[in-house]
């Protein structure tokens, strides 16, 4: 999923401060799963903002809505009636959702309420970890399903750096060294010798380095 974290309350409050009518728009897919922008978070944030502004003596009307996915027009169109009645939208979707709202409802200011952080997993309750950087050319098949491009701080393709100690990364002692994990899995499969092969440099054209990406599926285009 796309993992995000709600922005600090003070930052959100300052950003919506100029408006007297606000719609907090949640997203029911990724950010809901990571407890950043689903309907529960929308309700809690709306209540907190109402209280905070009331305490300041500022009058602000806050409406709430959560759609299944802000990144798809089919769901986002449901927000049209409420957006028509608001001065601004505070979107709790990922960065893609925020931009989709801005693009579909061009006349309404849209503010981000979530910091989109990474493509990751729920490792255990309350712990999300980055697993993929969306490089556009998956190499997991070469590395026993552990991605060195997104899980090694130096994106090393040919083995661990000198900072790997006791299975941990020198950049953060609480982060597993991706290369330790790769080597452990290779050993478990009896394929350590395969990691002796030189892996050539990455072709980054399929990644963000090649400029904003588009994916066209001719078979689906109507």
């Amino acid at each position: 999923m796309i993992v995000g974290q709600q922005k600090p309350f003070a930052e959100i409050k300052a950003s919506v401060h100029p408006y007297s009518k606000l719609l907090i728009l949640g997203c029911g897919t990724c950010v809901k799963t990571c407890f950043a922008g689903g309907e529960d978070e929308v309700a809690i944030l709306a209540s907190c903002l109402r209280l905070a502004f009331r305490k300041d003596g500022q009058i602000i009307t806050i409406d709430e809505l959560t759609v299944e996915r802000q990144c798809e027009d089919e769901f986002l169109k449901e927000a049209a009636p409420k957006i028509a009645q608001t001065e601004a939208v505070l979107s709790l979707a990922c960065g893609a959702g925020v931009q989709m709202v801005a693009s579909r409802y061009a006349g309404t200011p849209v503010l981000p309420g979530v910091n989109t952080t990474f493509i990751g997993i729920l490792e255990k309750q309350g712990l999300f970890t980055e697993e993929c950087s969306g490089c556009g050319n998956c190499v997991l098949g070469d590395f026993h399903a552990i991605c060195p491009l997104s899980r090694c701080a130096k994106k090393l393709l040919n083995g661990p750096c000198g900072g790997s100690q006791n299975g941990k990364c020198e950049v953060n002692r609480e982060t597993d060294c991706a290369w330790q994990l790769i080597i452990d899995r290779a050993k478990a499969f009896g394929q350590l010798d395969k990691l002796a092969t030189y892996v050539p440099p990455k072709d980054w054209r399929t990644s963000y380095a090649g400029g904003p990406r588009k994916l066209v599926r001719e078979d689906l285009v109507i």
Binding site: K154, N158, G159, P160, V171, W179, Y198, P200, P201
Partner: protein, 307 residues
């Protein structure tokens, strides 16, 4: 032979001695000249670090040129943290044109350890890719795109290895990878834990790697017990045996540096007996003035004159 004295020494089978200087945090070249002047004549080549510990300093390449002008042979360190493949290849060509003949290829300390942790890193390629690129440039005269260069940079190619990092069983495999990619000399992380270093050397020797590459063992004299404890606890991939830390602690403040040098000399003595070890690399961090003393006391002075 590319004109590298270091390469010539090692090819002749002479035990090599290299040292290291860090460029200044500023544009004052006198600092690098003063550091190099202390080392001149005592070592065969001097490594010049590339923004080590991710702290912005005078560039390695320009500092290398100051050394060349003084008659000191540099080993230019290059990290893949700050430059992409375009910049790295360009700089290698430029460095060669300025008389630099030795390059040490590294991935570099992560920028979060430095003074500008908010910086973006590059890591377009890794240290092995850089080694491979330098080899292709030198042997085939082609850049990474396959373009035939007008004038190939013929570098003596070095790499680092850390026998004290994990996973230990992979360390020798990685050394082999670096050698097949093109590394001709290896400078290791500082050696304090001799048994582990010997074990690593034994594995390298068994795999025939010591025949294919010149390994220089890293040496860093300990200045104080505080330094020893700090390094053991905070510097990744450095192992200092407890008994060594105790020795440093046992020395009075005035005598600590003396004990540190004594430990260093004992280490060199033991290292010289290891089969397949071709030299030492002394990294006396901000303590360059001690290098001549170590080289003399280790009976490695005068340095052999090779043409």
């Amino acid at each position: 032979m590319n004109g590298s004295r270091l390469q010539h020494m090692l090819t002749l089978g002479r035990f090599a001695v290299t040292a290291e200087v860090g460029p200044p945090r500023g544009a004052n070249a006198d600092i690098i000249r003063e550091k190099a002047a202390r080392l001149k004549g005592y070592v065969d080549a001097v490594n010049v670090t590339d923004n080590q510990t991710a702290i912005v300093r005078m560039s390695s390449m320009s500092s290398c040129v100051h050394l060349i002008q003084m008659g000191v042979e540099p080993v230019m360190q290059m990290v893949t943290r700050d430059r992409n493949r375009i910049a790295l290849q360009s700089d290698v060509m430029g460095a060669y044109s300025l008389g630099i003949r030795n390059v040490l290829c590294l991935s570099g300390d992560h920028q979060t350890f430095g003074s500008q942790a908010e910086a973006m890193n590059v890591y377009d390629i890794d240290s092995l890719h850089l080694i491979h690129t330098l080899k292709t440039m030198r042997d085939e005269g082609r850049d990474m795109s396959g373009f035939q260069l007008n004038g190939a940079p013929k570098m003596f190619i070095g790499a680092a290895e850390n026998p004290f990092a994990d996973p230990f069983e992979y360390r020798v495999i990685r050394l082999a990878k670096k050698i097949s990619a093109g590394a001709e000399f290896i400078q290791t992380q500082c050696v304090y834990d001799l048994p582990r270093f010997k074990e690593w050397m034994k594995l390298a020797h068994q795999k025939g790697l010591t025949e294919k590459v010149h390994i220089l063992a890293g040496i860093t004299p300990l200045k104080s017990a505080r330094m020893a404890k700090y390094m053991a606890a905070n510097v990744s991939g450095i192992m200092i045996p407890e008994v060594m830390i105790k020795r440093m602690e046992g020395a009075s403040k005035e005598k600590a540096a003396e004990v540190g040098i004594k430990i260093c000399l004992e280490t060199i003595q033991e290292l010289r007996e290891i089969k397949g070890l071709h030299g030492i690399h002394i990294m006396a961090i901000e303590w360059e003035e001690t290098v001549p003393e170590i080289v003399r006391a280790a009976d490695l002075y005068p340095r052999p004159q090779v043409s």
